[in-house]
Amino acid sequence: MIVTKRALVGALLCATALGVAPFHAAFAADAIKIGLTGPYTGGSSSMGVSMRDGAKLAAAEINKNGGVLGRQIQLVERDDEAKNEVGAQVAQELINKEKVVATVGFINTGVALAAQRFYQEAEIPVFNNVATGTVITEQFKAPDYDNNYVFRNSAYDVLQAGMMVDEALRQGFKKIAVLADSTNYGQLGREDIEKQLAAKKMKAVAVEKFNIKDVDMTAQLLKSKEAGADVILAYGIGPELAQITNGMAKLGWKVPMIASWPASMQSFIDIAGTNGNGVVMPQTFIEDKSVPKRAAFLDDYYKAYGVSKIPTPVAGAQGYDSIYLIAAAIKQAGSTDGPKIRAALENLNTKVEGVVTTYDHPFTDKDHNAISRNMVVFGKVQDGKIVYANPDDAKNASTVRVKEKSSN
C-alpha cells in the first residue's frame, strides 16, 4: 500500500490536533452512525413513519450486502414531533452526543430550517428526503457560505407550484382559486403559486387562508365559488386538505382540486373518503410494480412492516433512496469525514439505482436538489389509493426518468 506523504502529514496533524485520534482508530470497525429524524408522532407522522421505514429498509439491505467501507450502517432514530424547537434539540444531540456522520430526514420545512444550521456549522451533510420548502437548500447557499451541507431528494415547492399551475392551465381552467394553510409550508407554497401565475400574466380569482385544525371551510369555499373559480389549487397537509373536499361536498359545489403532494397522506384519504376521489397532486413515486426495482421495494416494505399499502408512498420511497445516496457518497469518499462526504455527494461518480429514479450525478456544488421536474408525475386519489393521474404516465411507468441536465 502506497501512502502519500501528504496523507501521512495530514494524519499526523489530525492526531496532534485532536489528541483523541488513537481512540478513534480503535473504533474503526464500528458501525457508521447516520441520524434519522422526522415526526414519528402527531399530525405529519404518516409521512415521518413511511420515511423512517423506507430508510430502515435501505439500511438493512446495505448491511446485508456487507455495509459501507466494510462497516455496518446504524440508523439513530429521533422523533422531532414536527416541532421546530424539538428538531433543533435533536440535531444537537445527534451531532454532539451520537456523533453521526450524516443525517437524513425532515418532513416539515420549519423544522428543517430550524435544525439544519447545526449540521452546517458542524460540517456534517444533512439530507432532506421529504421537506419541500424551496428555501431549504438555499439557506446556506454560496456566495454567503463556502460550502452548503444541505441536500435534498424531494420535489421542492417552486417545482410543485409550477406543476400545479401548469396542470390547471393544461386542463383549460381559467379562473384559479388558491387555498393555503397559514403555516410556513402553506404560505411559502402560496407565494410560489402566485409567482408562477404572475409569470403567466395571470392572477388567482381568490386567495384564501385557513388554519391547522380548522374544521369549517365554508367561508373560503364560498368566496372561491362567488369569484367564479373553476379549479382549486390547495397548499396544505392531509387533514385540512380533506376538510376542503368535505366542505365542497357539503356546499354541493364540486370543482376539480389540484393539491400539493401531502394529499397523498393517509389522513387525507381517511378523512376525505369518497369526497377525495379525483384530487390530483405531484408525486415522485406511485405504488406501482411495473419497474422490477420498485416492485421489489414494495414487496419488501409490505413484508417488513406487515402492511398492504405504504401510508405515504412518496415519503417511503424518498426515505429509501436517501440512504442509498448517502451510502454511495460515503463509499466514494472512502471516509466518514463530513466535508469529504459532501464533496462526494456533489460529484457522485457511480449511478445510484433508487426507487424514485436512477440517480446519475444528482448533485453539483451549485445544485443540491436531486429531483427535477421531469421526474415528478401527477397522482390521483382513487378509492383509497394513489394512482397515476395521466394514463400516459402509467403506460410509461417502466421508463425510469433521469434528471435533466439543464434543470434546476
Binding site: 407522522s45 374544521v215 365554508t218 367561508a219 356546499l251
Partner: protein, 290 residues
C-alpha cells in the same frame, strides 16, 4: 342572501361546538368561582375513550358510557386540583393545578392512544341536507341539537332535582347555602363532574367532524374560553349566545373581509366586552363587599 344564510348556518354549527365547551366552564365557575383549565384535555380524553368503545358498542350506546367516564374524570380533577386550593383559600392555586392536570391527562392519552390523529366513524350519512338553499351536514345538525339538548338537560337538573337546587343555592351564595345544611364541597365536586361530563360529550359530538387526538381540544378550549368571557361566566344562556356570536363572526369575517383575519373580530369583541362589561354580556354584575 343564500350565501349569507349558508355562512350563518356554518357559523352556528362551529359556534355551538364552542358553546358546548364553554358551558362546562360556566358550570364550575357558578358554584366555586374556579374553572377547569384542562377542559380541552377532558374533551380529548372523552373523545378518545369514546373512540375505543365505538367498535364494541356502536356510536349511540357509547355516549352514556362516555358521560359516566366524564363524570368520574371531573370528580378526579376537583379532588386533586381544586379542593386543596380552595381549602387553603388560595386565589390562584387551582389555575396552576388544573393546567397541570390537563397536561398530565394529555400525556397519559398520548401514551395510551398514541400521538396520531385518528378518524372517528360518523354515525350519520355524509350527504348534506338542503333547506331553502342552505346546505347543512347531518353531523352539524347533530352537534347543534346534541349541544342544546345537553344544556337543556343540565338546566332541568338544576331546576327540578334536589341536587340541582343545591347547585343553584351554592351558586347564589355559597356561605348561606352551607349554613342551610348544604354540603357545598360535594356540590362543587358535582359541578366539576357535570362540567367534565359536558366536555366529554362535546368531544364525541365534534370528533366525527374533526379528528380525534390528544391535542384536538387545545384550539377549541381556547376559543370556548373567549366565548365564556364574551357571554358571561355565570350564565348558561350567555355561553350559547357568545358561542353563536363568535362562530358566526368567524365565518362572516372570513367571507366578507378576509379568511386571513377570521379570528380577529372574536378577539376584538373579547377586548370590547372586557373593557365595557367585564362580567360578560349576560353576566350578573357582582359587587364584592370587602
Amino acid at each position: 342572501m343564500t350565501i349569507f344564510l349558508q355562512l350563518v348556518a356554518s357559523g352556528v354549527a362551529v359556534g355551538m361546538i364552542y358553546a358546548a365547551i364553554a358551558f362546562g366552564y360556566q358550570l364550575t365557575f357558578a358554584t366555586s368561582k374556579t374553572l377547569n383549565f384542562g377542559q380541552g384535555e377532558a374533551l380529548a380524553v372523552g373523545a378518545l375513550f369514546g373512540l375505543t368503545l365505538v367498535p364494541f358498542t356502536g356510536y349511540w350506546l357509547m355516549i352514556p358510557l362516555v358521560l359516566v367516564f366524564g363524570f368520574g374524570l371531573g370528580a378526579v380533577v376537583e379532588r386533586l386540583a381544586v379542593r386543596p386550593a380552595i381549602a387553603i383559600k388560595s386565589e390562584y392555586g387551582w389555575i396552576m393545578a388544573t393546567i397541570a392536570l390537563g397536561i398530565i391527562f394529555k400525556n397519559v392519552a398520548e401514551n395510551i392512544w398514541g400521538r396520531d390523529d385518528l378518524p372517528f366513524p360518523s354515525p350519520l350519512p355524509d350527504a348534506p341536507i338542503e333547506i331553502g338553499g342552505v346546505r347543512i351536514l347531518p353531523m352539524e345538525m347533530l352537534i347543534v341539537g346534541g349541544a342544546l339538548l345537553m344544556m337543556l338537560a343540565v338546566e332541568i337538573f338544576n331546576r327540578k332535582s334536589i341536587w340541582g337546587k343545591a347547585v343553584v343555592a351554592t351558586s347564589n351564595d355559597i356561605d348561606a347555602a352551607g349554613l342551610m345544611g348544604i354540603n357545598t364541597k360535594r356540590v362543587i365536586t358535582l359541578s366539576y363532574s357535570i362540567s367534565a361530563m359536558t366536555a366529554a360529550f362535546a368531544g364525541v359530538l365534534v370528533a366525527p367532524v374533526t379528528l380525534t387526538g390528544a391535542t384536538m381540544g387545545s384550539v377549541l378550549a381556547l376559543k370556548a374560553f373567549a366565548v365564556a368571557i364574551i357571554g358571561g361566566l355565570e350564565s348558561g344562556l350567555g355561553v350559547i349566545v357568545g358561542g353563536l356570536i363568535l362562530g358566526v363572526a368567524e365565518t362572516l369575517t372570513g367571507f366578507y373581509i378576509s379568511t386571513g383575519y377570521k379570528d380577529v373580530p372574536g378577539l376584538i369583541l373579547l377586548l370590547v366586552v372586557l373593557s365595557i362589561r367585564p362580567v360578560g354580556l349576560f353576566g350578573k354584575a357582582v359587587i364584592k363587599k370587602v
